[in-house]
Amino acid sequence: MIAPEERLAATLARLILDPEAPPARHIAVGAASPVPAAACWLVKLLGHPVRLSLLHRRSGNPFTEGTRELFDLTGQGRVDLFFLGGGQIDGQANLNLVGTGEWPGMGVRFPGSFGSAFMYLMTPRTLLFREEHSPRVLVERVDNVSAPGVSPPGVFRRGSAQALVTGRCVFRFHPDRARFSLASLHPGETRESVREATGFAFDAEGDIPATPDPTEVELALLRGRVCDEMAETYPEFCRRVWGSPQAA
């Protein structure tokens, strides 16, 4: 039995290792991101040379000058890949972490934008991750823009979204036309079921492959050493997905 979180972590790991993308030598993971953190540990424990900076790690935290180091490193272009999500994500890859309705989120207020307004523009690669795939999350146009999906010419920007991984599928993002295309379907999903659950229009050309299952090696790592590495920062997540009793 493969847990949905395990499939998502393995899927993100595959996208991190995408040979067509610029290399991810240094990956940072922000607040409240257990699945992206699991994907990063998986990449590292599979033996790939990568530096991980996990912002919320208590012991062995990578930063000795405070969390501003994450942003200073990223400002210099020394973080290759970052993860972002959003309460709303639209078809142009705009992210809303502020809330719905009038500014500052007078409908449903989300926690806030964190570093997204900076990280999205300053990181060469961003992987978008949002497990809930529904018309209320994947909208035609976000109510408020925490971080824009694309920028006009002349605005300094190092990169944009590489892909959006949800609980139903993987989308690729094409910044040249500011549009997503369907890349693979998780088990039980079809092109139609994804269209039904998605508030924005996207491309879906030809046969859409299934999202591969995690391999035996990946599953063993996720349930063993990845879980051990994550237990201190994400005890609830580890308990829920892997039934791990250990906590910080």
Partner: protein
Amino acid sequence: MMLQSPDALAALVPDGALLAIPPDNSLPSVAIAKALIRRGAKGLRLLGVPVSGFATDILIGAGCVAEVETSAVSLGEAGFAPRFSAALKEGRIRIRDATCPAIHTMLQAAEKGVPFMPLRGLIGSDILANRPDWMVVPNPFASDGEDPIVLLPARQPDFAIFHAAMADSEGNVWLGRRRECATIAHASKAALVTVERVVDGSFLDDERLAPGAISATYVTATAIAARGARPAALLDEYGFDAAYVSDYARAARTEEGFRAWLAREVFADGRKAAAA
């Protein structure tokens, strides 16, 4: 200056003051937050450095806060901050949304005593559109094109408020690698710090301790508060108390639940401390 208790530190904070507070992963003084509630502080303006957590939510719930400037308010794995969400909805607080590196940068400008600092990114975000105090200018050093860049004004809090592992006899405090607390201490007019213990000597005479210390130059007053960051973690000394925060998150879903939680965890605790 070493004071008797977190309540004595809270007595130094006037209503309406601007307080810089680190988030739950970076040594908030929950002891001072609780003492501010006991003192009945009003109209406080909180600056989350760079985001806000448990201490901010209880201060808002207790009616101590007029405005929050932050990049997010959250209880981490325990979910959204319930009293913040309720107060915003009911129009009892104002929020000035920011983004993490902008808050660090505004404090670094204050640290340096310069009026502003530039920051990349942000252009195209509604955060910028809703911050009339932030400005976009052409990069004066650009060799090609306009290269628009954001300028952020220096932000000098009235008080930095945080928890440290220890103070020494000179009034220096030590908190290891959580240097955002050093930034807010440097940038603020005053710093109020709770500590677990006080030790003899000076951290500045010890090559291994000095890099994790904040000099007494910046520290206005300290007081001992055992487990003063709780439920937040303190370095390698104690962990995050997830059960305490999820219990709070459940209780604070309603105003009545929050009041009962306050009576038990803030006012009763304070009476116990005063009696001890």
